[in-house]
């Protein structure tokens, strides 16, 4: 198992290398002269002399690959450069804002599972009866709702009308509930349908017939021979959901004034703050890829066929 983890971890490096270079190049070749943006953010008049000086200072006069490897060398020491706008180290700012985003996306992931799995199981076990029809309609609407708009509706209901939960900010553990719910709604609905399909698949497995024929009690059948097997496909889908949730959190943060990476990145996008953008994409990608690695490990742990094949 350890060898499996190490091998997967090792395979991440070339991927992250390609990704980081692709995005580095995109940023540099994307548009205009970064030196202009640098001077604008530093509030220095863009004279020819200032531009030349800025290019030298930023290393823009060097070949792209050299620039990239210099950035990479720094990045490997957790130095992601300095924001052109705030003049603070990017890594420091990320550490400041990342926890809030991770808390939001993580809570949303838990909500996705806590809503999607039981309702999906319920729908499958009551197939073609009212719970199945109801969850089908809810899921269909749920995947079509804009998350930020749902955020407003939730505030309207739970904060303004009922006064149960705070509408804004990140104070106290309850404040994460509404933004997390808005972020999770779509994923929870997708998860619900996936779990339903997966449980229906497990119900048709031939080993279930043999388990029944041995006279096993209902709870053993449900727990060990239906749900355990039915959880494999949803588990592998968690990785994709995480990506959706991280992206969704970026938008929903704005609605709730949630102090996460979303607002910070938005500022950088508006300012064309290159080091921040570069740091943002690489950190988000790394977090996402690492989470997917965790999912893979959990998958191998759950399904001995994967584990045994990896060991062989």
């Amino acid at each position: 198992m350890l060898a499996f983890i190490l091998r997967r971890l090792a395979s991440l490096f070339p991927l992250l290398l390609v990704v980081s270079f692709a995005f580095f190049a995109m940023l540099r070749l994307g548009r205009g002269d970064p030196a202009m943006d640098y001077l604008r953010l530093a509030q220095i008049p863009p004279t020819d002399a200032a531009l030349v000086a800025a290019r030298t200072e930023l290393g823009l006069d060097r070949p792209l690959l050299v620039q990239y490897f210099s950035w990479l060398a720094d990045a490997l020491r957790f130095d992601l450069g300095t924001s052109w706008f705030t003049r603070r180290p990017v890594a420091e700012e990320i550490l400041l804002f990342l926890p809030a985003t991770l808390q939001l996306a993580g809570t949303a992931m838990l909500l996705t599972l806590a809503i999607g799995i039981p309702l999906g199981v319920w729908a499958a076990l009551r197939r073609d009866r009212w719970p199945d029809h109801l969850t089908r309609v809810v899921a269909f609407v749920g995947v079509s709702v804009p998350n930020f708009w749902l955020g407003f509706l939730l505030v309207l209901l739970f904060a303004v009308t009922l006064g149960w939960l705070p509408a804004m900010g990140r104070e106290g553990p309850a404040s994460v509930l509404l933004p997390a719910l808005a972020t999770a709604a779509m994923s929870a609905c997708v998860m619900l349908r996936l779990v339903r399909a997966s449980v229906l698949g497990a119900l048709g497995e031939p080993h279930l017939r043999f388990a029944r024929a041995r006279g096993l009690p209902g709870r053993t059948l449900l727990g060990r021979h239906i749900l355990l097997n039915a959880m494999v496909p949803p588990l592998t889908a968690i990785g994709l959901h995480l990506g959706e949730l991280m992206g969704g959190a970026m938008v929903v943060e704005t609605v709730f004034g949630w102090p996460g990476l979303g607002r910070w990145a938005l500022l950088a996008i508006g300012n064309r703050d290159y080091p921040v953008l570069q740091g943002f994409i690489i950190v988000m990608t790394t977090v996402f890829v690492l989470c997917n690695l965790l999912v893979d490990i959990a998958y191998a742990w759950l399904d001995p066929r994967i584990r045994l094949r990896q060991a062989a």
């Binding site: 029944r212 024929a213 041995r214 097997n229 399904d303």
Partner: protein, 263 residues
């Protein structure tokens, strides 16, 4: 009053899906220590008959008539779950499909033995003796393995051991040797024969393969289109087949294997 008949008897079983009749008026008896072969082509209703004995019919199939008696006692079709595994063991074809791929062999045994309250060390001992009984030379190596680590023949043996783990008096075997290679088929058939003799099991052997019948069965019932069209002792069936379907099955069988397979 007559002494209640020993054995598993089915009388007048009728199954249908919607308006379509699948099994019509099927009756037979399996006596302890005896093997009843149920032969027929696929779609003749033989597997459905077995499933109805276990109360495991597909959702769209209903039992519209007939009753099942176990040693003379009538079984309630709505309450067959108490009988499953305990009185009637079941072995299915394609043994790989019978095991949950995510669960070890040992766990399959433990959960089954736990149905009768056998747990802990007692369960371990029972499991090992069952595995030894079906021919595993080193049974202690099996419990920690996953189904994907066993061959088809090993799984079929393990499945037999599982089916016998709750000490049933009768065993329903649905195509137990299909999908296995010939050598393993012979081993499984030998094993079934030994188990029938040693445990005085009543075995209902469902198959489309007359060589399996010839090897093992005492009586044979031939199913065609949902009905039993002929039933007689195995020697009689091979010597004097009465129904045209039986004759066709025999012709096909001899074309494949030659006359030498006659018992």
């Amino acid at each position: 009053m007559a002494e209640p008949m020993r054995g598993l008897s089915v009388t007048g079983l009728c199954l249908r899906a919607g308006t379509k009749s699948l099994v019509r008026d099927v009756s037979f008896t399996v006596a302890p220590g005896q093997v009843l072969g149920l032969v027929g082509t696929s779609g003749s209703g033989k597997s459905l008959t077995v499933m109805s004995l276990l109360g495991l019919l597909p959702a769209d199939v209903q039992q519209t008539g007939g009753e099942v008696r176990l040693d003379g006692r009538r079984l309630d079709p709505a309450n067959l779950s108490a009988i499953r595994g305990r009185a009637l063991g079941f072995v299915q074809q394609a043994p790989r499909g019978g095991f949950n791929p995510l669960v070890t062999i040992g766990r399959h045994f433990r959960e089954t033995l736990a149905c009768d309250g056998v747990r802990g060390a007692a369960a371990e001992a029972r499991m090992l003796s069952l595995l030894a009984e079906v021919g595993f030379a080193a049974p202690e190596r099996l419990p920690d393995l996953y189904p994907s680590q066993l061959s088809g023949g090993m799984l079929q043996r393990a499945m037999l051991a599982l089916a016998l783990s709750r000490e049933p008096d009768f065993l329903l075997a649905d195509e137990p040797t299909t999908d296995l290679d010939l050598v393993v088929q012979q081993q499984i058939l030998d094993l079934l024969e030994r188990l029938v003799a040693r445990r005085r099991l009543g075995l209902l052997l469902v198959t489309h393969d007359l060589s399996v019948i010839a090897r093992l069965a005492d009586h044979v019932a031939v199913m065609d289109g949902g009905s039993i069209v002929e039933e007689q002792p195995v020697a009689g069936l091979f010597a004097e087949p009465r129904h045209s379907r039986t004759q066709a099955l025999l012709r096909a069988h001899f074309a494949l294997y030659g006359e030498a397979q006659l018992p």
